[in-house]
């Protein structure tokens, strides 16, 4: 199991498009991926779950990956967050 805390640095937070990117990325891995914020835990493969976190800019999300490809999944998500979901250039 890998646990990491990722900060949301894109201006609009995890709105519809980043949520879509997270869910799409998560779906590429077989491991279980959970996002936790303010005591709410959601499945990263569910776009509605991710949107429900209402994660705004400046907040942080706990990302837990658990399973065969947990390392790759953790890296992929870290990448996504750090690149501001490819939103701002």
């Amino acid at each position: 199991m890998i646990q990491q805390e990722l900060k949301i640095i894109n201006r609009l937070g995890i709105h519809a498009r980043p949520a879509a990117l997270i869910a799409q990325t998560a779906a590429n891995f077989v491991c279980e991926i959970k996002l936790i914020k303010d005591n709410i835990s959601v499945d990263a493969k569910s776009i509605m779950g991710v949107m429900m976190l209402a994660a705004e800019c400046g907040s942080s999300v706990q990302v837990i990956t658990k399973g065969a490809d947990e390392k790759e999944a953790a890296d992929a998500l870290k990448n996504l967050f750090e690149n501001k979901f490819n939103e701002e250039f």
Binding site: D43, M48, M52
Partner: protein
């Protein structure tokens, strides 16, 4: 008995059982099923998911082509919601474990998901629930079958109740035994309402809550004269309305007796009465009308629901068939007024997303940016004019400056010289005029009138722009007011300016068939009116009962008034004196 007040969209009275357009309401009562039915319901929802997924794919492609990647991304979000395990698993569980019908399972799941989103405080994220409901609506519609299939399955005369109807739905109604309809949304001049008139079926729109208040099988009265919907009327009301219905039918048949008589006032002043013609809704009844010509042929329909613009030949054969119907009379063809609420599926040059489409790239603006569209349409029209004895007139929509008129005229002259090289010539000189619907064009008409052969006033949009009211927005729609002093003064000014140069003015738009407004329009010396076939004989009858001198006095008085209320009182007083 419950009476709802809406907006009269198409006259007449219809009485009959209600039929609700399904799939509109995603909130349905919880319905349990037998364990044995579960697998069938499961199949249903899986098929609906598959169908919805295909729809979203197509939609995504369309959006990508017309609006670009940013909007296409929105569609892929919708696709992800559809495939979201949280949604799918919850529905499946509710069908197999809790034995709910597929529709109930979808409804309960959506409500649960929405409840989670309602807890979010941030309004931006809260809004995301709308995306979920959007997907839910599509799913629900596919679960109960397509709209068109549903309409085709109506076999007894019924009154259709819907939240909203697209013109494309409306057009198929009569052949589907729908004898009247009502909707929650829409105003008098919405395109659905205009279509209802040409289809000869009573309609009331803008009822707000009709689709919630009516249940399937309720007996309804749709009163298209007064804009009322009566749900489950008592005996007295029902018999009263049946009487009115009979009388209206009698009047309709009486009206036919003036079909061959001219549109003149009692004191002999002639008004040219043209018809707004739509070849798609040409009933036997409409064919019998004796008219002074075609006042407005809208051509947008040729450009809608097609992956590429209509070819010159397709346009040619459509216009030719129409022009032949009017032998030697005027045939006014309006160049495609695309844009705003009529955006074609095929990609256009230099058109980006539009936050305020009614002020955006539409009508002549769009045509000048897409010169191929303009050229093709002009060629088709000019070729028709070479074949028929009709007086072909070309009308430019949405003109705001003289430069636009000159650009179109230059394109028109070029087409004429091309056609001449083919050794063809229009039978009659083709007139090129403008639809005046932008206030700037109305006010500065003297600057462009020399470049125009005729003027037509498009009052629906002119009023909308004059009073700055979006007629589709229910919060302000009531301020859309033909009696506003600015409207009358503007119409009067347009007519004066045009007459000074010896040219003629026709009014097309809802106001032309508003019998209350007729005395004013005639009093301001309008030359012609163009109305829907449905209203044609009513308007002619009204004209034949008016006195031109009285109208002129009335209209002059109205110009001096400063409020809608005064003008309205004036009209009403006059009507009482007449009767």
């Amino acid at each position: 008995m419950l009476v709802l007040k809406g907006v009269p969209a198409s006259p007449g009275i219809a009485i009959g059982p209600a039929i609700l357009l399904p799939g509109e309401q995603i909130i349905v009562p919880v319905q349990h099923i037998n364990a044995a039915e579960a697998s069938a319901e499961l199949q249903k929802i899986l098929r609906a998911i598959e169908k919805t997924s295909e729809e979203l794919d197509q939609c995504e492609k369309k959006v990508q082509a017309s609006l670009g990647t940013e909007y296409a991304n929105l569609m892929s979000t919708h696709k992800l919601i559809l495939q979201d395990p949280a949604l799918k698993n919850s529905i499946i569980q509710k069908i197999t474990k809790e034995h709910l019908s597929a529709r109930s399972a979808l409804c309960v799941t959506l409500q649960e998901l929405a409840a989670n989103f309602d807890k979010i405080e941030d309004p931006f994220f809260k809004e995301r629930r709308n995306d979920i409901f959007d997907v839910g609506k599509r799913l629900s519609a596919n679960l109960v079958g397509g709209k068109q299939e549903f309409l085709a399955s109506i076999h007894t005369p019924s009154l259709l109740v819907a939240h909203d109807l697209f013109p494309s739905d409306t057009i198929a109604l009569p052949e589907n035994h729908v004898t009247g309809f009502c909707t929650d949304l829409g105003g008098k001049t919405s395109h659905t309402a205009l279509l209802a008139q040409s289809l000869n079926i009573p309609a009331v729109v803008g009822l707000s809550t009709a689709s919630k208040d009516v249940k399937n099988g309720d007996i309804l009265i749709i009163d298209g004269e007064n804009g009322l919907l009566v749900i489950n009327p008592d005996r007295y009301t029902l018999s009263n309305y049946r009487k009115i219905q009979r009388e209206l039918k009698k009047t309709e048949s009486l009206l036919k007796t003036i079909n061959h008589l001219p549109g003149i006032t009692q004191d002999g002043h002639q008004i040219n009465l043209y018809v707004n013609y739509d070849p798609r809704t040409d009933t036997k009844e409409n064919k019998r009308l004796v008219t002074d010509g075609l006042g407005l042929l809208r051509t947008e329909f040729l450009f809608m629901n097609t992956p590429q613009p209509p070819s010159e030949d397709i346009q040619y054969s459509t216009y030719l068939a129409v022009a032949k119907r009017f032998d030697m009379r005027p045939v006014t063809i309006r160049l495609a007024d695309l844009g705003a609420d009529k955006m074609p599926d095929f990609p256009l040059d230099e058109i980006d997303e539009d936050d305020n489409p009614f002020m955006g790239c539409r009508g002549v603006r769009l045509l000048l940016k897409n010169p191929d569209l303009l050229h093709t349409q002009l060629r088709a029209i000019v070729r028709v004019a070479c074949e028929v004895p009709a007086q072909v007139r070309i009308m430019i929509p949405m003109v705001s400056s003289v430069e636009e008129v000159r650009h179109v005229r230059a394109a028109f002259e070029q087409v004429l010289s091309e056609i001449e090289k083919d050794n063809k010539k229009p039978v009659n000189k083709i007139a090129l005029g403008a639809m005046i619907e932008v206030p700037a064009a109305a006010i500065a008409l003297d600057g462009m009138i020399n470049d125009l052969d005729f003027v037509s006033i498009g009052t629906n949009d002119l009023i909308q722009y004059l009073v700055a009211v979006d007629r589709v927005n229910p919060d302000v729609a009531h301020m859309y007011d033909p009696c506003h002093p600015a409207v009358g003064r503007t119409i009067h000014d347009i007519i004066q300016t045009t007459h000074q140069r010896g040219k003629s003015v026709t009014i097309c738009g809802e106001i032309a068939s508003d019998t209350k407004m007729l005395p004013l329009l005639i009093g301001w010396h309008v030359d012609g009116l163009s109305v829907t076939p449905r209203m044609y004989l009513r308007v002619k009858n009204s004209i034949r009962n008016l006195n031109f001198d009285t109208c002129s006095d009335l209209a002059q008085a109205a110009l001096l008034m400063g409020s809608s209320e005064e003008i309205r009182n004036l009209i009403e007083q006059n009507q009482h004196e007449d009767s």
